[in-house]
């Protein structure tokens, strides 16, 4: 009689333990949170067959590598209407500035930082007009003008490299192509204008009244 009780006890405890351990166990493919799922399922990420390359369109791009990020940005020089600058700027800037010569670039109003910080030559190289110039006098190509912006806007630059600032071109899949600073911000007037929203729900307005 005692033996049978023992057997029953041991059987019960086995079931109990089994129950305890199995109840917290998730089935395969089930996770506590979506973050666990992402972590687990991306471990064996093999790449995908979808490509966004076709959606980039006929934008000319160049590949850049910044830190651990390599991606495409639109080529800039061919988009600047009067590039190369040296077609007009045959002499260095200080030699061209005289009273009798016709004024140029009258339409550009610098509305970026204040006069103490910036003027035209903070970014434009007065001696070699086809290039930009860093604060320390290093030459910067127009195609990689983000190097000019990131001298001050370091936080935005970090976010842009990672993909939290700015916009992707085409699609989400590799290869990554991202807009560069000047594709959204006018460097002479970088802020976004306030304007009317693109649409407005007239139905809701009637309902509310």
């Amino acid at each position: 009689m005692k033996n049978t009780y023992n057997i029953i006890y041991s059987l019960l405890s086995i079931f109990l333990f089994a129950g305890i351990f199995s109840s917290c166990k998730h089935e395969e493919g089930e996770y506590h949170s979506v973050n666990d799922k992402i972590e687990a399922e991306s471990k064996n990420y093999q790449g995908i067959s979808i490509s966004s390359e076709a959606h980039i369109g006929d934008i000319k791009t160049i590949e850049i590598t910044e830190g651990e990020h390599t991606f495409l940005i639109p080529e800039r020089k061919s988009k600047i209407k009067s590039y190369a600058c040296t077609e007009c700027h045959t002499k260095p800037l200080d030699k061209m500035q005289s009273k009798d010569i016709k004024k140029a670039h009258w339409n550009i109003n610098l509305n970026h930082a204040n006069e103490n910080i910036m003027n035209c030559t903070t970014c434009h190289d007065g001696k070699h007009m086809d290039n930009l110039i860093s604060i320390t006098g290093k030459s910067i190509d127009f195609n990689t003008s983000y190097n000019l912006c990131n001298q001050c806007h370091t936080k935005q630059f970090e976010d842009w490299k990672g993909g939290a600032h700015g916009k992707r071109i085409g699609g989400w899949a590799p290869p990554r192509a991202s807009m560069t600073c000047v594709n959204c911000h006018n460097p002479h007037k970088p802020h976004f204008e306030s304007r009317w929203p693109a649409r407005y729900n007239t139905q809701k307005l009637i309902e509310r009244e």
């Binding site: 979506v34 992402i38 995908i48 979808i50 990672g162 916009k167 085409g170 699609g171 989400w172």
Partner: protein, 380 residues
């Protein structure tokens, strides 16, 4: 009814097989109306004899015992009574189709139209369809649109890609309330222009009040950004544990393996349980017949996405399945002028969305509900 593998009823109008027990048009000709050289007389085709009907009922029972879409969904065994009912209902609905398709004067086109209508009426749940069935229904819908309007459209039934889980991030410090996303969404997804139903809502919130949806204004119309306000958008969050899917009584909505929560508009009965179950107000209902001017119809469609809906069914944001499965960004992401919207593959460790999740301070709405939305908010 000769093909038992089909999950819908078929009239076999264009089939060459000789149908023995069909209670419908069974002349077996490939084109032209019944009659002519056929041994049947067209007048007899409108009337089904009792014997034929009994035979059809028997065939029906046999058919459904071999698991069709209905049974797979509802798991009910078909008895003689319900088979009879079903057949009677089918005949009532299909009566128009049968009579037009069997009349001598009806052209090939109207016959094809009714054949399509018939097969569409009795197709299965998209979720349960095989790839061939999916492309068949898509082909039918494309052909039907062509017959009705004379215009072609491209509709995809592209399936889930392995190693893809879609996720979305929204930068609340970047959004300025320009509503370009909403505009692009309406156009891309063929949304009804009259009711102005929109998948995306942009909420204008007062600075210093936090996320206060009670005081938020989502129908503002003034220059934006307004002083002392910030903007945030909501839409379907494509929860990984979606409550809307659990409550659907007919399983017309489900989560695909790439994370998209989708609806089969042809399976939806319009009970709006899902609308009530969604804690984020992400679902929309077609109260009126959705109308899109013919010139504005986006012809790049997906069965689960922006194809034309009908009155009385649910719809919602699908992360533009017709675009995202092709590698494009959803229309809202593409339209956003401020770059506040980021979309990508959560399973790709090098994707931009993963960088945002790992490097920015992200949060989700009502995280404590355990719905696991795949839509994160963050700030600069």
């Amino acid at each position: 009814m000769s093909n038992n593998e089909k999950k819908w009823f078929s009239l076999n109008l264009n089939s060459k097989h000789k149908v023995e027990n069909a209670g419908s048009c069974g002349c077996g000709k490939t084109s032209g109306g019944c009659g002519g050289s056929s041994s049947h007389t067209p007048q007899n085709m409108h009337q089904i004899s009792d014997a034929d009907f009994d035979a059809a009922v028997e065939a029906e029972i046999e058919n459904t015992q071999k698991k069709d879409g209905f049974e797979q969904v509802f798991e009910v065994k078909m008895d003689r009574r319900s088979a009879f009912k079903k057949l009677a209902a089918s005949l009532a609905i299909g009566a128009g189709a049968v009579s037009t398709s069997c009349s001598v004067i009806a052209g090939d086109e109207s016959k094809e139209k009714s054949q399509i209508d018939w097969e569409e009426q009795f197709k299965g749940n998209y979720k349960l369809m095989s790839d061939e069935e999916k492309s068949a229904t898509v082909d039918r819908l494309v052909r039907s649109y062509q017959l009705r309007t004379g215009k072609t459209l491209s509709m995809s039934s592209k399936n889930v890609e392995k190693d893809v889980l879609f996720g979305y991030a929204f930068n609340i410090s970047k959004c300025q309330g320009y509503m370009d996303c909403v505009s692009a969404c309406v156009e891309e997804n063929n949304q009804d222009r009259n009711s102005q139903m929109e998948y995306i809502r942009i909420h204008e919130m007062k600075d210093g009040k936090g996320f206060n949806f009670n005081e938020a204004d989502d129908n503002y119309y003034h220059e934006v950004p307004a002083e002392g306000h910030f903007y945030m958008g909501t839409q379907c969050f494509h929860c990984d544990n979606p409550p809307c899917v659990d409550v659907c009584p007919v399983k017309a909505t489900w989560r695909e393996d790439d994370g998209l929560v989708v609806i089969d508009y042809d399976w939806c009965v319009g009970c709006r349980y899902c609308m009530a179950a969604c804690p984020y107000d992400g679902r929309r209902f077609n109260w009126s017949k959705p109308e899109v001017p013919e010139a504005e119809v986006n012809k790049n469609q997906h069965y689960l996405g922006n194809r034309m809906r009908k009155k009385g069914v649910m719809e919602k944001c699908t992360f533009c399945v017709q675009r995202s499965r092709a590698g494009k960004n959803p229309a809202c992401v593409e339209a956003c002028p401020t770059g506040a919207r980021i979309f990508g593959n959560l399973l790709d460790p090098n994707s931009t969305i993963r960088w945002v999740l790992e490097n920015k301070k992200v949060f989700r709405l009502k995280e404590d509900l355990g719905t696991e939305p795949k839509f994160w908010y963050f700030m600069d």
